[in-house]
Each structure stands twice: as C-alpha cells, then as structure tokens.
Symmetry: C2
Subunit: 408 residues, 2 copies
C-alpha cells in the first residue's frame, strides 16, 4: 500500500518549487543557492530544530512564524548559515518578506532556512534581487523539485529527494521531501535541512506530533561526524488537498500517515548518511537481542559514531574489536561475553565474534564484504528481544580535505 | 620548588626498568614490545582503569593484584591488547608469574598491561621466553626508562616520558613516568598506558586518592578521537625510599605531592594529545569566565573533541563558527551572545568573535597563527569566574591512513 514515487517535494498536490542562483555563493557562479517551495493553499506546519544552544537566526524567526501552526511557503539558501552573523534575524525576516510579497501571502506564513558558513553576514540583497526570478520559475514538476534540492546543497555530492504514496481514509495521499546533509550530521540533528510536503489533511497539533515521532526514529539515528550544527531544521507542510477526513487525533488514519512519513524520512536519512562528507560506504548497524529499544539505539549509535570503526570500514578492515570497544563506551551496561558480531553486504555475511571472543574467519572474504558500498554491522546482544538500526558512513581522506579548508 | 628532571620512570630512587623485543609484534622484528619496571622494595600501588564495559584481561588481573594496595613490579607489552581474546586472564597471569619468578616476588605483586590489537590470543610464550633477557637488562638509568618507554609504543611516533623533583616534608621526592597514547585517547581514558613511579612514602589509600584526583584533571582532559579503549590503565608505584614522614592523610605534605603529580601527569597528557595518531597540532582550549569549573571543562572538552574543529585546525582555517557550534552542543547551557573567541600561538593572538558575532580579522595573520604546531583556542564565556583547560589534536590524512588498516 506504500509506494515510492517520483516528484520529490512536488509529488503532493498543490506544491510548487524552484531553485536559482542568487549569488550567496559568490565563488560558484553557476551553482543554485536559493530555493522556494510554495503551497497553493494554507498548510498545517511543524518543524523540529537543532538542540544546539547556539541557534541560527532563521530558527528564531521560524519559531515565531510557526506559533499559529500555519504556513504557505519556505525560502532557503545555501552558502551562508546566517548563524552568529550580524543582522541575523533582521535578514532572515527580510528573506521571508521578499518571498511573501512575490507569492502574495503574509511574511509570517513564510518559513526560512539557511546553511553554509557560520559568522558572516548573509548577502540578503542578492537573495531579495533573485526572488522575482525564483517566483517566476515556480512549477509543480520533478524538475522543479530537483532544482530546489540542488539549491540547498553545500558539500553534498548528491541531491536527496524521496516521495511516497499511500492510502489514508480511502484517499490517495502523497508525501515528498528534499534534504541536504553531509558533514555535521549526527543524532539530534546535524547540519541537515529537510523540507517535507504532503497533501494530507491534518491538524497543526497532529502534524507536529507525527514529525516529532518520525524524526526520533529516522534522522536522529544517523551519524556522520558527531558534530551537531546550529542550523538543523526539518519542517513539514500539509495542505489538505488529498481530501481525506482531516486527522485531528491518533487512530488508524494517523498511523497510516505515520508509517508513510517514517518510510519517507528513513530513506532521506539513509541518503544523508550515505553521502556524508567524503564517505565511500553507508554503514548500517543493527543491534538485536537487546534489553530495550533505547539500549539497542544507544549501542548502535555509538558504533556508527566511532571514528575508529569508521576508519576501519574505510580500510575494509574487519576490525570487530573496535565495534566491541564502541559498544563498551556507549554508556549502556551489558555482558560482553554474550555478544555476537557479523559483517555483511551483497558480497557475503561473515561472523567475526561470538560470545565476546574473536573467531577465525576468512580474511579474504571479509575484505570482499567490506569493500561493498553498503556494509552492515549486525550485533546480537543475547539479552532480550529489542532491536534498533542506525546509519552512518566511513571517514576518508576526502572528509579531512573537505573540512580542512571549507571556508575558502 | 618543582623541577622537571631527567630519568623518566627511573628518576625516583630504587626503580629499575628495561624494554626488549619479545616477538609479540611479529611483523617488526627490531621493535621493542615488552617492558618491565621493578622497585627494589615493596610499594604502595594504585591504578585507574578504563570505564569501558568491555575491559581487557590484564585489567581484571590487576584489580585482583591491587586488592592489598601493594605491588613490586609492572610488566607490559605492545602489539596485542589481550582484550576479547582466548585465554585472556590465564595469559595475563602467566605474564605476572614469569616476571615474579625472575625478580623474586609473588605473582600477586606484579601488575600487567597490554596494548595493541583486540581479539587475538596473545603470544604469551614469546613473552615468557623474553623475561630472562628483560630481567638481565634491568637498570636504573635514563636509557632504561627510554627502552621501557619505547616498548609500550604502538602507533605513537614519540616516546612519552617526564620526571619531576619536589620537596615534601623536608625531603627531596622524585616522580617519573612513561606513557603511550595515540589513537583512541579521550576523556575518561583512551588507549593509554601510563606507568608512574615515585620514591615518596605514602599509604595505599592516599596514593589512590592522589591518583584519582590527578587523572581527573590531566588525562581526562585530553581527546584524540573520542574512542575510549578497552585497555586504558594509569598506575603508580610509591616505594618510600625518599624517607619522608609517610603520608597517611590529607595535609600540606599531601598537597605538595599532589601538585607534583599533577604537573607530571599534565605534561604526559599534553605529550599524548600532541602525538595523537597523524596529528600535526597540539590544540589547547582554555575556557574562562565560566559558571563553574565543571561547565568550563565540558565546553573545552567538546571543542577539542569536535571532528570539524580538528579538521579546521588541520587546514589552518580560522573557522571559529565550528568552535561556537561545538560549545553549543556540549550539553552546557550558556548565552552565546557573551562569548569571545581568540586563536593564539607563537605567531600571534587574534580575536575572531566577540559577543557571539564574527569580527573582521586579518585572514593572513590567522593562517600564520594556526600554522604553528601549538595552537590555542581561548574562549571567554562572560558568565562567571571559573576556568578549565583541555587538550586535543587535529585530524589529518594520516589518522585515516593509520586507522584504515591498523591490523595489517
């Protein structure tokens, strides 16, 4: 009943998008750097923001604009984070005002996001000057979603875009999203921006609840480098054009929507982890047989966050000792003598540790398993019935290169 | 009254040391891999071990051998961690027994440490075979301390050795130590081994107290890669040959000793951070004007642990936004608008952020400042009177290279 479809952030009825080059990224003249997403009608809207004490200016603006749980549009830029920057909130408000004027709504119904360098004044004049062209480019198409998806990329190498279709209350409902990730991605939201659209009819309270539930089990289960940024934002707009009976409480309709939202966000989260800065591998760590899901999550997160484990996967080195080590410092208590570890991929499945002790294994096969792009670390705790999966990536020379000189 | 002196782990009266090649490291025939440190008389002894749930076999053995607070010797090897390995405790006991037999004491008076690969059986027969040569090589000299210091190195590029002399109760007291660090060093003890010797007369209870107090403000304030190992050990032997009135309670003598122990361990900790795997920079982060020392420590640790900050220092990029970002996700609450950040080194001192906002600064000078080996990140919180300093290193291509293929 749940199908992945094309169209990204324009898959849902009544959503148009665009992405153009405004000149925030002064050193890359061809690169799109401003995106706009607009709904034809008012939406229930909700967002989850970074837990970092240092919050970028757009987040403070969005918190005000979301007070009524309603929005019409999102304007976003890459190239400058508008965090710790002079005139931050003033300039974020100017972005909203420019978009509102062009599309004909109140500035308070526009949300704003920024990503890029911290601490420098955002070139808001360039964005304002680009808004007419941005508005003129708005359309409901896969190409438009693609343009918006590219406009929010920083060091990402791939655009992240997913859409799904499901049935809620007898009506076909669509959900889509674009996201940017790369460095600074970590449980509790890294420098990620994620804009979700859906045509479901749902109250502001319930869309917020659904977003919170979903982020906890998708984006908060990935890690790239352990750094949590000042700008992380995941927001959703729901415009009701699917014509379903509006969801105003938990129940079967809410659950059907939640399942679709989780599928959407999990795919976007995996794309982010897979495209971590310089990454060559997507690492999927599943912990089974744990005392609780919380315990399984803490352990799996510790493994995908371990710099040494990430370096071992980069080197296709079946160094399972580092996996045990990362489990051991996760903060969870467990009996190491019950732990089993397997490495798996399309090339095979190999057990490397049983009852906390190393096994003799085929090093040649292990190397093959770990040379695949998608690598699994499967852990069995032998302590209970709970499980959890988290995602990460390896750390490479390119990560250092990208981050050693990001500003220039 | 406190002087740094030569002699390392042999600086204190009555301590002899040696380091030889036994063959634990089969692929490096010339490399010393077993060390022995022996006191002429019984010592008060104490140790601090890793908090990792997965503890290496030698730690379980040491916990038993330290039950009476006494010891005579330490035997240690590099090349194999004897963690998650078959016959782990049995083999660790065999190392103690071999050393005890050669030097003429009880096995329970010998402590044991291992560092290296996890999960493979330690080649204990090679160590046993080497013990006679190791014992024959024992002497009290700078060269002997040097040999022992080299024998515990893994990916370390430099031996870590420090000694100090001070006066306690009218007597000259000496303290010395050797350590190994490199990867996996993190607050809460990384893969570090540290063996301290002193000729002070002190009770087992008080030497333990002094060690705990000191580790908290020295080794636990450094970070290399955030991974905490299975083998971390810091142990101290105090043989009383200085002839001071034995310390059995807190007071002026205890405080004088504590100051010397802290100076010793801080120097060793800085050497470890500075020689983190692949590191080119020692990063010293000092947080001043904080609400409490604990708060200052949490913030400073978060900064020196931030992968993105480490990558920026590697690239000599004055990307202070990452510093603020790491402060923000440290878990401490503070007002970003009061924060000031300066980068400093022998090449200059440059303010890059005031009141949480970026300043225009001389990028050329900033580059020079950050190109020095020793780089300071000085943060002022504007919230109180407390301060704390933590140490770390940059992350480089060589870190990835070293850890991408550690086992081969």
């Amino acid at each position: 009943m749940l199908n992945f479809i094309d169209g990204g952030v324009c898959a849902a009825r009544g959503f148009r998008a665009a992405g153009v080059h405004a000149g925030v990224k002064t050193h890359a003249e061809w690169k799109k750097d401003v995106a706009l997403i607009v709904s034809d009608v008012d939406c229930s809207a909700a967002a989850v923001f970074t837990k970092n004490v240092v919050k970028a200016a757009p987040i403070h603006v969005d918190l005000r604009h979301l007070a009524d749980g309603k929005a019409r549009a999102v304007i976003a830029n890459s190239g400058n984070a508008n965090a710790c920057a002079p005139q931050g909130e003033e300039n974020a408000e100017r972005m909203c005002a420019a978009a509102a004027k062009a599309i004909g709504c109140k500035p308070e119904d526009v949300l704003v996001s920024s990503t890029g360098v911290i601490g420098q004044r955002i070139h808001v004049e360039a964005i304002e000057a680009a808004v007419p062209a941005l508005c003129a480019a708005l359309e409901r198409s896969a190409e438009a979603s693609d343009a918006a998806g590219h406009a929010i990329m920083t060091t990402d190498t791939l655009k992240k875009e997913v859409a799904v279709e499901t049935t809620v209350g007898g009506k076909t409902v669509r959900l889509g999203g674009i996201a940017k990730g790369s460095g600074m991605i970590h449980p509790n939201m890294g420098t990620m921006l994620c804009f979700l659209t859906t045509d479901i009819a749902i109250s502001p309270e319930m869309i917020k609840e659904a977003l919170l539930e979903t982020v906890a089990v998708s984006f908060n289960r990935i890690s790239v480098d352990g750094d949590t940024s000042t700008n992380d934002t995941c927001l959703v707009l729901a415009n009701g054009l699917a014509g379903n009976e509006p969801i105003t409480a938990k129940g079967p309709d809410y659950n059907a929507f939640l399942a679709a939202l989780r599928a959407l966000c999990t795919e976007l989260a995996k794309k982010m982890a897979s495209d971590g800065e310089g990454a060559r591998h997507l690492i999927t760590c599943t912990v089974k047989g744990a005392k609780s899901e919380q315990s399984a999550e803490t352990i799996a997160k510790s493994v995908v966050s371990s710099t040494l484990t990430k370096a071992a996967i980069f080197g296709a080195d079946a160094n399972w000792g580092r996996v045990l080590c990362a489990m051991g410092y996760s903060g969870e208590d467990f009996d190491p003598d019950r732990v089993t570890v397997r490495f798996a991929s399309a090339a095979g499945d190999i057990q490397v540790c049983a009852n906390g002790r190393g096994l003799d294994f085929d090093e040649e096969l292990a190397k093959k398993v770990l040379t695949e792009h998608d690598v699994e670390i499967n852990i069995s705790m032998g302590e209970g019935e709970a499980s959890c999966t988290c995602w990460g990536c390896d750390i490479t020379y390119d990560y250092i290169k990208i981050n050693g000189d990001y500003r220039t």
